[in-house]
Symmetry: D2
Subunit: 321 residues, 4 copies
């Protein structure tokens, strides 16, 4: 192996830059030429390549987002685009590719592998919805961002005996909502993995009020079957003792400097991905299992779903009391 390429794809996540730095430096330290692909799969098809030096990734370990520009390119399911990508890679004499991205990006990586191009995936997604890893790049930073927002909302909630409904990201996986609800001291958490009952929510809030709490927090994942704004309307009709307000955290959850955990995870993933390619492997995604870096076939990653652990749900309900 002589030339390595690396790209970031899909929604950005804090820590992508830390991972990019690790891939580039590990490649260079192993005597490889390293090429960065800009603009994700679209750039791959169009050959938006740039050679990287060790200095090009200096000072980026702490930056949010991705220096390589990311983006979605659903057209990549088309085999014509996939073949064009491989032509571009081959004409730049690339021998192996690292794809840093979410579930959708892993599908693209699998397609390239099936066309016999060596590729290793690295999971990055603040939602933590990627099968095969207990934590993806960006999750820890997003959790801290949500937690700080909840801390701020609690300041004002407590000052006014108010309740807040906070909508977090998470279309199919309630991980962010569940964990941030526990560490934010939420009275109730709504996630896609569990049917929501507005009456149960109202009861939990009324209980909190009766127990003398000066505020109440409800965390709702974006993909919950009961939407946050619908929930607010229902709750404000029922008598809970609190006046409800809604905060949709939105894209601030994607930004920010990566935390210590995300920088370390991203670094370890980046090193491991290059080592897998050097060892002649392909079609795998690196993942975290406990505190160990493992690999899992991309074919599994792309067919299975990761869901939030409902054991945490029970924990949250118990601690709210």
């Amino acid at each position: 192996m002589k030339t390595l390429a690396v790209m970031t794809a899909g929604g950005d996540a804090p820590g992508m830059n830390s991972c990019l730095r690790a891939v580039v430096r590990t490649g260079l330290n192993n005597g490889l030429k390293v090429i960065a692909v800009h603009h994700a799969y679209k750039g791959l098809v169009e050959g938006a390549f740039m050679e990287m030096s060790a200095r090009d990734v200096g000072g980026i370990i702490q930056r949010g987002g991705t220096c390589l520009q990311s983006g979605r390119f659903p057209e990549f399911v088309d085999a014509r685009h996939q073949k064009a990508a491989i032509r571009q890679l081959k004409s730049a004499q690339v021998d192996g590719l690292v794809v840093i991205g979410g579930e959708g990006s892993m599908n693209g990586a699998l397609a390239l592998h099936r066309l016999r191009f060596p590729v290793i995936g690295v999971p990055a997604s603040i939602d933590n919805d990627i099968y095969g890893t207990q934590m993806a790049i960006g999750v820890d930073t997003a959790l801290n961002t949500i937690m700080e927002a909840i801390d701020k909302l609690r300041d004002t909630a407590s000052s006014h005996r108010r309740a807040f409904i906070i909508e977090t990201m998470g279309r199919e996986c309630g991980f962010l909502a569940l964990i941030s609800g526990i560490i934010g001291g939420a009275e109730m958490i709504l996630i896609p993995e569990k049917e929501a009952d507005p009456k149960e929510v109202a009861e939990a809030i009324s209980d909190a009020h009766a127990r003398g709490k000066t505020h109440a927090i409800v965390v709702v994942a974006e993909g919950s079957d009961l939407h946050a704004s619908a929930l607010m309307q229902k709750l404000n009709k029922l008598k809970t003792g609190f006046d409800f307000r809604l905060t949709i955290l939105g894209h601030i959850q994607r930004g920010g400097r990566p935390t210590a955990f995300d920088r370390l995870l991203a670094t370890r993933f980046g090193v491991a991905a290059v080592e897998q390619l050097l060892a002649g492997k392909s079609g795998l995604m690196v993942g975290l299992e406990g505190r160990e870096i493992v690999t899992v076939p991309l074919s599994k990653v792309c067919t299975k779903k990761r869901r939030a652990n409902l054991e945490y749900y029970r924990l949250a309900r118990m601690l709210a009391k």
Copy 2:
């Protein structure tokens, strides 16, 4: 003067606790008994009083919100309530009152003064919409909160060549939007003080795109005549080169630990308010003029409006280029 009372009223603002601490300690150091009024004007009418010691305000200088519970009580315009409040104050032998709050709260303070009860107001409002002070308690913290949110949104915007519309607080005063727009590097800022033209916004964004910017930021005050969501719809129809997303910052702008500036301002205001009462003054609000603490009659505070300085608007437009 022997007994001093202090209350926080209206929307909470970071630094209210720092001010409360200063009022209590200045009172005690001057040999006064100090009483805290809980639940704002409602608590004043109902006599929700508690005597404070120096230790009661230990460890609160850094806390967001207000320990005394705040709240709105529009019924206080009724003279019956005002007189009941004065009866409560007198029966607790209170000789003077410090009211920490926003514009509405200053109206209540003025009413008490007109009924010949000694009262001094302290301006606290993240919107910075109070006449008579260049900065109110909470504004600097809110600005930093908005700035950090914009920094985070820029991370993700740059990674995807995207544009963000950010709605800040500010119903009648565009101060927060204007200053955060300047320091957040916004392409365009919409404030209540200036008519908005969606075409002008679109042009500014298109220009930014043409100049090679990888992201664009538009900051919109809550009270802008063109609402943030309406603006997004319009912009996404026009061809600007960017895909727009909307983030409504909401109540997180009210929370958080007060900044250095807010802790110092709140402390100086608190000390000055007690000194005014000790000097036999009433019917005044303390304010910041340059770096000096001044006083201004509550009658002026309650009849005039503070608006954002349009000189900053010109600055913002020039720097965006």
Copy 3:
């Protein structure tokens, strides 16, 4: 089991309050009376007990330090004190004790267990030097604090082509120095687990200078055989191209609001500790193994040492290039 006691002991760590909250609420939810012991082992001997309600631990999940006051009490090795402690516990009808603390505190817990008092330990120590758990409460927060300090030092280092030596905590275990060195992009890391060679350090720095780096960072654990200030003197004599400055981070590493990771870990530990007591267990410490909560005998915790993983050292050296 009817009455549960809980204490924090040894050096404080961010997350102790989150753990305390979880212990109290889990106890109450299981119908137990819960008693907090103030002032650690000294308070245990003297009976500084206070009954806790669910509200007493409201609003503490996010606070640094410990509400219960901690402290060292080496005299507790004396069996006389241990027996006095058990007398106090029994006279308050306590049936089981949770001790949240570091390695020294686990020794005290083991002593009580050997005197047949039911006790479960919870590891809290920013140094991460406790055998039997991969992460102790407070480590993640301390890592983020160190990382932010390094980010700040790098700002100024880059502006002046300067090098910084940063001393972190860690008397016997180099974990904090090692991980913060990796995520802070340090050129070199000195830890107690590995002999330091000033010439090797100088070479790494000279190399960095030759490669065009505008700054250099060396992270040194408190317990490294070559002390940070001695290293600085040596490096400033050798020709590395950089002018060195020293920063001793000191006690700021212990403070701060717990991170998401620490709040969750502390919460899970607290719940598990109470569940162990309810299941009739004693003489165990709860720990983290991968992402699972496990238990390990206190007798092992107190005789074995946890040291930093030297695999990370290799990683750090490779990425610095």
Copy 4:
């Protein structure tokens, strides 16, 4: 005027980059060519010039330190170097220079002005020791950094009934120590402007202990006549009830992302500096007076001293009780 040059000099301060951005954009918007001088006065003498576009200062408003590399160059007092600098400026057809820096840098600026080269100074110094401006660039950020460190130390101090001595920057001016002491709730503050008496400090601490405080904080400016470490030794000998620890904050005070206040101040200063040059002015420094931007002759800046306002000292002593 056709060509403008800008440089940062002396110790770096957060906000220098925000100012640089404002200078460059204001210059370009007025049709000027803008040249950045790298490596401060040394680079000026050697002609380390680079033309700047609007995009070159994109994304730097939030970065700590200075992109232009700063540094001290005491040799610039030599007229030979000053003349060489002017030759370099003239050969690059520069018509005016903006110097962003501290007191020493203003001396260099004055020298160039006296040799009839148009120059405007911008005050940047975290110590706030520059005559002619109430706030210099970087002061507000440094204050917030110190405040956050004190908040962290207080967490651990309260948990152990401990006292901390915190050394801040400030060789000749006690501003940082004084203000951070007030907003950090310090029991005592030592500054160069006031003789220190260890017995008075000990008394204040003993008083705090007697009043039941669980911690004590003493803030000491670097330039206090009684050095922080000497103070600690003395205090630990006297009986105050507390065990003292020392934390020297050091260079972390210079780093970090600029706060809202510093970004705005730096931006306004940068715009004003260019406007002064465009108006044909020279030999002036821009400054903040109240909330207005003013100018002051460099000859005054270089001969007068700015010292901390002792009124704040009285305030601090009163509030500590």
